[in-house]
């Protein structure tokens, strides 16, 4: 039983970690808690749905990949969702957050992000309706792993893709000049500026990377459960818990934080009633803020 909960925890933790990367960068570089970030997961999932629906209506691109429930349309939908969600995030940045940042403080940005979250969530409701939707109606059978652990093939794909995305982001952050400039800006925006870094460009990259991670997490989450307008909102607490646990601005912190949150949530049901499971991320936030406010991978000021 414990192995099954561990496997479930790792799988949900991978999605939380992917989604939390952008939130963590936003907190560090843009210096505000963006409560609308979770809605980017929802929009990413629905952008993916638009692509899959259009591709399927046009005859699709063949069948499914082996035991997986999807084929090429969903792979391409991941790319489409990442691009479309990045455009949406950049629009939000230019129309709302960038303007507010010039004339107001961080708390106003936080409150504005609440408003943006409401707007985005209700726009999904208005356009797509409240009924749950699935990417695919293909019935999947769980694979039995050693230790009597059952996982769906789609979940294995989810984990593998998460690992690929994290490695790609690691290489971007450590090998590319833009990635290094992002880390520099996270530590000291003024020093980055006087070194010749265009911080405005860095901020746009933060939105693009954050939105892309959120979109991929949204599509993967939609793949393993179902698409609903509250998809992202349901993850808001785990996302914040992962970002705070890992330490603002830390790629690895967000991923490890996501895994800790996912594992804690799923393992907690062995000792507390399932109804209390959503409270686990909240307790983790309280614990980390008390014992290590800078997070596991954060630098102490």
């Amino acid at each position: 039983m414990i192995l099954q909960h561990t496997a479930d925890g790792i799988l949900s933790g991978a999605i939380i970690g992917l989604g939390a990367i952008g939130l963590s960068f936003t907190m560090k570089i843009l210096r505000f808690a963006n409560f609308s970030h979770s809605e980017l997961l929802t929009w990413g999932a629905y952008f993916g749905l638009i692509f899959v629906s259009v591709a399927t209506a046009m005859g699709g691109f063949g069948g499914t990949f082996g035991p997986l429930s999807f084929g090429w349309p969903l792979i391409l939908a991941l790319v489409f969702a990442a691009v479309a969600t990045s455009v949406l995030a950049l629009l939000l940045h230019h129309l709302i957050f960038e303007r507010l940042a010039k004339v107001t403080g961080h708390m106003t940005m936080v409150f504005a992000s609440f408003g943006v979250a409401l707007l985005l969530r209700n726009a999904v409701l208005l356009i797509f309706g409240a009924d749950p939707i699935y990417y695919s109606n293909t019935l999947q059978f769980a694979v039995l792993l050693p230790g009597n652990v059952r996982v769906l093939p789609d979940q294995v794909f989810l984990l593998a893709l998460t690992i690929v995305v994290v490695i790609a982001l690691h290489l971007f952050m450590t090998r590319s000049r833009t990635g290094i400039a992002m880390r520099a800006t996270a530590e000291s925006p003024d020093l980055a500026r006087v070194s010749g870094v265009n911080v405005n460009n860095v901020v746009r990259w933060v939105w693009v990377i954050g939105a892309s991670g959120a979109a991929v997490a949204g599509v993967l989450y939609g793949l393993t459960v179902q698409l609903r307008p509250e998809l992202g909102f349901a993850l808001i607490l785990p996302l914040f818990a992962a970002a705070i646990l890992g330490g603002a601005g830390s790629l690895y912190g967000a991923v490890i934080g996501g895994l800790i949150v996912g594992l804690s949530e799923n393992l907690s049901v062995m000792i507390i009633p399932t109804t209390y499971k959503p409270a686990v991320p909240f307790l983790l936030i309280l614990a980390i803020l008390y014992f290590r406010p800078q997070g596991l991978f954060g630098e102490k000021k």
């Binding site: 000049r177 290094i180 520099a184 530590e187 020093l191 980055a192 006087v194 070194s195 870094v197 911080v199």
Partner: protein
């Protein structure tokens, strides 16, 4: 002598309604070291931050090589040959030494930046040896060398230093002043804020004394060193007592 920098009647501060500088003027020629001294709160750091594009100038003009650069964003000034080394937090401690230098070359094309990094490593072998280590492991003196090396990557014509010897041992401070003199020998011009007034005046060509956000005295550094009034009024001690 080529005029590198002219700052005229600069009014600037961290809040538009609360200026710290009330019309300060200064200039800098190629090949000279100019020091800004004055009591705490005089606006010394604010002046070089406003020249570097970090503090908003509400009125006045900053000219670089004769071109009006007032209000130019800091990252474009870096590309235009203005380097600024802050007093504290002047290296990225979470980045490796090599990554610090990569950031320093952000305004350059990639190939040129990499060539400049190799040049810096030839010039400062200590940085080459430790290039893969995080900057946080460096001593105070080593950090200042990295900070200046990072600023030198763009081969700047104007170097702005904010209290470069703060927190350094006398020996490290002396080595740093030697490094600064070497920079101007290579053709750069240095505008420096320094609390270590006597030592700074000894190695400078000219100096400005600021007080309460205004120019008070300026002139040849050796003359100011002998000026009793400066020590008594602006430094809180006679120049010979200032260490």
């Amino acid at each position: 002598m080529t005029r590198r920098l002219t700052a005229t009647d600069i009014v600037a501060g961290y809040r538009p309604d609360l200026p710290i500088l009330h019309g300060v003027s200064a200039h800098l020629d190629a090949g000279e070291v100019v020091t800004i001294i004055g009591p705490n709160g005089a606006g010394k750091s604010t002046l070089i931050k406003s020249i570097a594009g970090l503090v908003k100038i509400t009125s006045g003009i900053v000219e670089i090589d004769g071109a009006d650069r007032t209000g130019t964003p800091a990252h474009l000034l870096a590309g235009a040959g203005v380097a600024y080394v802050p007093q504290t937090g002047n290296v990225f401690t979470t980045l490796t030494i090599r990554e610090n230098l990569i950031v320093g070359g952000a305004a350059l094309p990639k190939a040129e930046a990499l060539a400049q990094i190799d040049r810096i490593f030839d010039q400062y072998p200590m940085l080459a040896t430790k290039q893969s280590e995080k900057a946080r492991v460096l001593s105070g003196g080593e950090r200042q060398i990295l900070a200046i090396a990072r600023a030198l990557l763009t081969s700047p014509k104007i170097i702005l230093l904010d209290e470069p010897t703060a927190g350094l041992s006398p020996m490290a401070a002396s080595e740093l002043f030697d490094l600064v003199r070497g920079l101007v020998a290579d053709g750069a011009a240095v505008l420096m804020v320094e609390q270590n007034a006597k030592a700074a005046l000894k190695m400078s060509d000219r100096a400005y004394v600021l007080a309460e956000g205004e120019n008070r005295i300026d002139g040849v550094a050796s003359d100011l060193l002998e000026n009793d009034e400066i020590g008594r009024i602006f430094l809180g001690a006679r120049p010979e007592d200032v260490t």
